[in-house]
Amino acid sequence: MKKKRLEIFLEGLEKFSYPKAYLEQYSTPANIAAELLVYAKLKGDLSGSVCDLGCGTGIFAIGAKILGAEKVYAIDVDENALEIARRNADKYDCGIDFIRMDIADIDKNDLQVDTVLMNPPFKSHKDIKFLNKSLELADVVYSMHNGVTEEFINNYVVDICNGFEIRKIRFPIKRTFEFHRKNVKEIDVNIYRFQR
């Protein structure tokens, strides 16, 4: 599947109607999701088992399944997010295993996958919690991080992984919450591929 077609397909998925600010429920834009997914596919990381950590509306999980992943897990703590994700998966008849839990409670002895895909929350270093957990669960992790945290992330992961690649993009965040002052704000986002 071509990247443009995947993007159009992902754009058609249902988004959050009532996003929760404390869970940073920004829907991942379809073009950015397609970018990350095709990157992972071309690297050969989407053939086995995949876990979408903090799946939200399920865009990575469904995309991974479409691109040929054999087994896909999608985990989120929020009931509403999982309802939307499940509707999205059902619409396209994707066999995805959804689990509602706090990622802190995932036991690495129970769940091991080939690849983790995630767009973790940025605030108060929640992204670090997601990073730590993801590298416990998989050899390869694809993740998106705010460009301003690049130095911090790069220094941090030195101790927990063996190497990484970065792709730099600009991420348009549409006005989602009342406290946002602009209709669309562009932020720099780095797509990482971490190798355990």
Partner: protein
């Protein structure tokens, strides 16, 4: 919930393996039921096919 999923799930409180109790299933998929931790005597519901592994106060 795919039945074999229970193998990779554990109690979020004590990390012990869980027992699957099925109330309703369709094509080997559990639609309704619960996961039981015998150590904590805690039931984790499976709602609309999605297991909810959260302590009671966080559901």
């Amino acid at each position: 919930m795919w039945k074999n999923l229970v193998k990779i799930l554990a109690c979020p409180i004590c990390k012990k393996d869980l027992l699957l109790i099925v109330d309703e299933e369709r094509d080997n998929d559990v639609i309704k039921g619960y996961l039981y931790c015998s150590r904590c005597n805690e039931r984790y519901p499976i709602e609309d096919g999605i297991p909810v592994l959260l302590p009671l106060d966080q559901r």
